[in-house]
Assembly symmetry: C2
């Protein structure tokens, strides 16, 4: 199979920048292709654009049926006509991150932009700032100087912070959700285990799995399963699954008369996780997973400003709305509070909302009416201040 040809024939809506992008690591990546989707209509003044930033395993299909999975967009609940991110009013942009695998330049892209083999593991390390710089090129390409709002959860929230710190004049309002200004030791540790799980897979082949048409499916599934636990709360797992069991079709009972009905059965939570793992590997590239988790680990806004987080936002006129979830232990409320304090110290306009929920980190993707009301209210208020029609 001619991998390169398939790669060049990008099935996703995209724009290519011939001049490329110089990355923080010093490597110039050219050409640079960015895949994106838009919803709603850009106003004549180009002042109603909202950039929605996706999380680690998300992509640009935020508000429409996903072309690979056939499932609704990951924020279809929030983005649309009359919804909190109202497409009757706002022009919504969602861009596949640099290093991703849904049409933007990443480890699957041909190395010289032409017919060479894919980058694979040789794809240069990228940072959240690189990801944001690549997005900025798309935003400019769309004729937009200043975004009305940048909004995103988890790694999407990291991008929001990076936008606000790097391009303060291009962001009227910023909504970092379930995020932090740096990746914690615990989160780096979980990411490292997921990388090791991928490396342990025999089909990993040192990262050149595509040569033989393979994917390190088992390792990537293990990585996804582990990460998935961290996205939920203990309460949510208990509520959804508890200790309920189901018959494991692959295991015969040891002894039909055994007093414990458990043997030959599996816990529902196991079956659920296996499904999460196996469906993930059908849509995600392992080298992208490695690249993007690394970008998260590098993330530390304060580090770019002498270790002082408030200095990163000195003089900002952006309006911030920081959102956390009470049961999120991956990006706990304390980390959002640290952000809020630093922004207060920088005399920024900031509101901070902790949503009371037992759904854990993933709450930003789930039905959480208080959260929806918060987003709708903040965006409406900002639109009024910005003089949007």
């Amino acid at each position: 199979m001619d991998q390169s040809a398939a790669l060049i024939d990008n099935p996703h809506s995209h724009v290519t920048f011939g001049e490329g992008l110089e990355l923080e690591c010093g490597i110039a990546l050219a050409p640079l292709t960015m895949a994106y989707r838009t919803y709603g209509t850009l106003s004549a003044a180009a002042d109603n654009a909202i950039l929605v930033c996706h999380a680690l395993t998300g992509d640009q299909y935020a508000a429409e049926t996903h072309p690979l999975t056939g499932k609704p967009g990951w924020w279809a609940r929030l983005i649309g006509a009359g919804l909190p991110i109202d497409t009757d009013r706002f022009f919504v942009i969602c861009i596949n991150v640099l290093g991703g695998c849904m049409g933007s330049t990443g480890p699957r892209s041909p190395r010289d932009g032409g017919v060479a083999e894919p980058w694979g593991t040789e794809f240069p390390p990228v940072t959240i700032r690189d990801i944001v710089a690549a997005q900025a090129k798309v935003v400019t390409h769309l004729g937009i100087h200043r975004l009305f709002a940048v909004i995103g959860g988890s790694m999407g929230g990291m991008q929001v912070l990076s936008w606000a710190a790097t391009y303060p004049d291009r962001v009227f309002a910023a909504v970092p959700i379930a995020a932090a200004s740096f990746h914690s030791a615990q989160n780096i540790a979980f990411n490292e285990v997921s990388r090791q799980a991928i490396f342990a897979d025999p089909d990993w082949r040192g990262g050149r799995y595509w040569v033989d048409g393979l994917v390190p499916a088992r390792g990537l599934a293990v990585a996804r399963m582990m990460a998935h636990i961290t996205y939920l709360s203990e309460e949510a797992l208990t509520r959804k699954f508890g200790r309920r069991v189901r018959r494991d079709p692959h295991v015969a009972p040891v002894d039909a008369d055994a007093p414990l009905s458990l043997f030959g059965e599996m816990f529902e939570v196991e079956s659920y996780l296996r499904h999460q793992g196996s469906s993930f590997v059908r849509r995600f590239d392992a080298n992208s997973y490695l690249t993007i988790t690394r970008a998260m680990d590098y993330f530390d806004v304060a580090m770019d400003h002498g270790g002082d987080l408030s200095a990163a936002f000195a003089g900002t006129r952006t309006r911030f709305c920081i959102v956390s979830f009470s049961s999120d232990w991956l990006f706990p409320t304390a980390q959002s509070r640290t952000m809020a304090r630093a922004l207060n110290k920088a005399a920024a306009n900031v509101s901070f909302v902790e949503i009371d929920t037992d759904k854990g980190h993933d709450a930003f993707l789930l039905d959480e009416p208080d959260f929806d009301r918060t987003i709708r209210g903040f965006l409406s208020g900002c639109a009024e201040h910005a003089g949007l029609g």
Copy 2:
């Protein structure tokens, strides 16, 4: 190499029961070999014995140099002359769990007790009750009817509860530490991911890795790394490692002039986890890991008593001291509190202590003076009530 011969030549102190043990799954395991260590001297009345139960990856070498690693015993800090578990006063027993890999019958044992090949993945599923039943045979063999105390942390605490529920007349005092009366959905989920990590290793060979002299080292290391994160608190990880980096000797910097010194370096927490993973696989058997994690998942004391935890302890005269750690998120304080409430409902003699610490689940293995004082005080008080000299 003649695997079987090596297996029969058990280098660990042990006792073999020809009649074996009938497991809860209905399978009779015969003969049954149990490896154990003792410290201190049994009194003439045989009333001063303390059974110390080890955790998932622990073993019987609780208070002496480990024969494989050369490190001090895992509870050398607590067990010894003049220490909280005072060997001048008590006779301390520690037994390698059934299903383990340090001399007790387990997946590495020859299948027919003789020259056949090891059980491997065909080793029957065991439960915490089976583990405790096998321990009870050793205790009887040592001439002890009633234990002065049973004490253990994590999975060791599960064994303590099972002892108290199954043999109430044989346990004067019980100290379950950092434990729970059932394994939660979140903990089952983490265990399942660790099992999948082992299965994903090419050297796993369907569980028959020993045939080719292999071990699924990468998968087992991933399992251990992930589990290790859950044993620590976010605070402990931050305190120990934060976001400090060190040069990765295996990775050349992408660009020596790169503005980010991070490329070509790794976070200290990553290096630490890799070390934890690789040192673990040298001393632990993958099939034992699978067997024991399964036993933990099955654990639910209430289930054996119609779903009523207090019924499991009805009429008990055992004195309980339940200990939890404030930053333990694997076996959170709330689960210990549930135990304490059920024991109160059963009119049991129970005290409940939450130790304030940021060290997480592993605090029971670490230097924590408040914890040491709690153990010493409870055992002394009980010894007085028991009329021990």
